[in-house]
Structures are given as structure tokens and as C-alpha cells.
Subunit: 150 residues, 2 copies
DNA sequence: TACTATATAAGAATGATTCTTGTTCAGCAA
DNA sequence: TTGCTGAACAAGAATCATTCTTATATAGTA
């Protein structure tokens, strides 16, 4: 999934922080490591729980602030959602999502045919489009199964 | 934008409610009318404000419940968002969104080339895909302009 | 017209997130 | 190495969106 080793990513994290004049704190480092170690689409609280072992008295506010900062910088992507808690995507390479509208599950998929979609002229000219993605909405296999059972 | 007149839509609303055993209350009717009269992507509170004139003591909880119900039924679509308040889309026909990641603005667009995207086999077989859409993320013209000014 | 299940209003409760304030610390300079 | 300063942090209060609880009202039906 990740094309770089976590060591390389950490080095990149440090240099990017420096380049932007951001302090490299133990908290930020821990949050970054928790992110790149995630295979899912964690909410802020998930990351908080994952770093809490190593940092028992980290404030959850720090996690909120840091993830928000990381999303702005591009270290992580904010996942499109439907009004629940924000979820982040450590995979910043082009991919797409299936979203279960019943349980909220997110399934990633790669689809080269979708990666090269051409941005309409109108947006190309007036806006700065940083990402283009396809979202499938529906009901996942788990939820379909539950429906059948009941 | 709407291919049916609001009178036709209201009639459809009534028959759909009946078919599902749902009471046709003045509140639901007002909320439905506010929805089909919207050219934007209103939040629950926006709809609440729009019906408040006619129903000064409608509870906002009713608006929450009703919009949620309407989304389940398909009278309205829930818009993909980024952790802020839910937003609804009265336009249930196939279209796509540009999303400004700075101010949250949503721009609709039609793009026939995007409407016919083929759902990957994996989802076709195991999941019930009800909607496929393209999301452009970026910074809108307004926000770009502000950046230039400052 | 009366009945009953459904829907509603009001306000309390919850969950996610942000703000405020005082403290700590990373990065830089002496 | 030490001291300084602005940035970052912890803690808890505050806010915002949403849901829940409960008592009342009403739509649809008998």
C-alpha cells in the first residue's frame, strides 16, 4: 500500500515540517506514526486511542489540531463523509471509495480507468482542483447479509 | 433543474407517503416544499429557518427527523461532506460536485461522461450500489481570489 | 365522531469539536 | 550549554450539531 518505508516517510515528515517552520514535537511525531501505521480510515478519537499508550496524557485537542494541520499540509486526506465524525485517509495516492450508507463502512479500491478522468473546463479554468475521485454509495455485503437474515 | 412541476412533485410526495404508510402532516409537507424550492444544498438548520415563518413553533427536531426520513426514502440525497453539518441535495438526478475545501462551497455540475462510469465487478457482485458520483476537491474561485488579495 | 398509532414540541442529553487559559517545550541565539 | 521566545500543549469549559425522552397532539381509520 505504502510505496515508501516508514523510515523514509518519517524523514519526509521532518523535512516538510522544517520547510514550513513547524516544530517537530513528540506528539506530532507520534500522531504521524499512528497515521502511517493505519490500514483503515481512522477518526480523530481512533488516533487518540492509538497514541494514548505511549502518551497517556496527550490531550485529545492536540490530536484534533494536529490531524487538521496534517490534512491542510497534505500528510493525510480528509475522507468524504455523511455528517458523522471526520475520518482521515493515510493513503494519499489516487484511489476511490465505496461507502455503505447503512453502517458507514468505507471500502477502498484502485481503478485506473477512474484516475484519469478529465476535469471539466469550467473548474480547470477558475478553481484549483487538487483531487478527483469517484464515490460509490450503496449498501455493503455485510449489511445486505443482515437484511436477508431478518 | 427540476423536470417536474412542484405540483406534480407534491402529488408524488403524497402518494409515496401513502404507499409507505407515512402520515402526511403539515410539517412534512412544509419541509418537502422547502426542499424542492431550494437551489442550494441546505443544512437541517437552513430548512428549519425556511419553514419557521409558516410554522413558528415547529421543533428543529422534527426537521432533523423528517430530513433523515426523506433521505432514507430517496426524496432527497445526503451530500458527501467533510465532518461539518449534514447537507441535503434536492436534486436527486445524476450529477456531480466540486467541493471547496477552504470555505465548504459546493458547486454542482452535469457531466454525461461521468454518469456512465462502470462500477467495478467486485462491488457489482457483492454490494448494492445505488449511486456513483465524481467529487472534485479543491479551492474555489472566491477563495483563490481572497488568497491573491492578502 | 371516537380511537389508536404515529408524529410532534420542548427541552434535556449526548457526541464531536473548538476555544480559553495557563504551562511547557522546540528551536534558535548567546 | 544555557536562556529566551513564540509555538505547541493539557485541561477543562464552551459550543455546535444531533439525538433522546416524555408528554401532548393529530392523521388516518373504524
Amino acid at each position: 500500500m505504502m510505496s515508501k518505508t516508514s523510515k523514509e516517510l518519517l524523514e519526509q515528515f521532518r523535512s516538510q515540517c522544517k520547510a514550513r517552520g513547524l516544530s517537530i514535537t513528540p506528539q506530532r511525531t507520534a500522531i504521524y506514526e499512528a497515521l502511517i501505521g493505519s490500514q483503515d480510515h481512522p477518526r480523530t478519537e481512533d488516533i487518540y486511542n492509538r497514541v494514548k499508550t505511549a502518551f497517556p496524557d496527550m490531550s485529545i485537542d492536540t490530536v484534533y489540531r494536529t490531524l487538521c494541520l496534517f490534512a491542510e499540509i497534505g500528510f493525510v486526506h480528509l475522507v468524504e463523509g455523511y455528517g458523522e465524525a471526520k475520518r482521515y485517509d493515510p493513503d494519499t495516492e489516487c484511489h476511490h471509495h465505496f461507502r455503505c450508507m447503512r453502517c458507514g463502512r468505507i471500502l477502498d479500491f484502485r481503478e485506473p480507468r477512474f484516475d484519469a478522468l478529465d476535469v471539466p473546463e469550467r473548474f480547470k479554468q477558475n478553481c484549483a482542483v487538487s483531487n478527483i475521485k469517484v464515490v460509490l454509495e450503496g449498501v455493503c455485503d455485510h449489511c445486505l447479509q443482515k437484511t436477508v437474515e431478518s
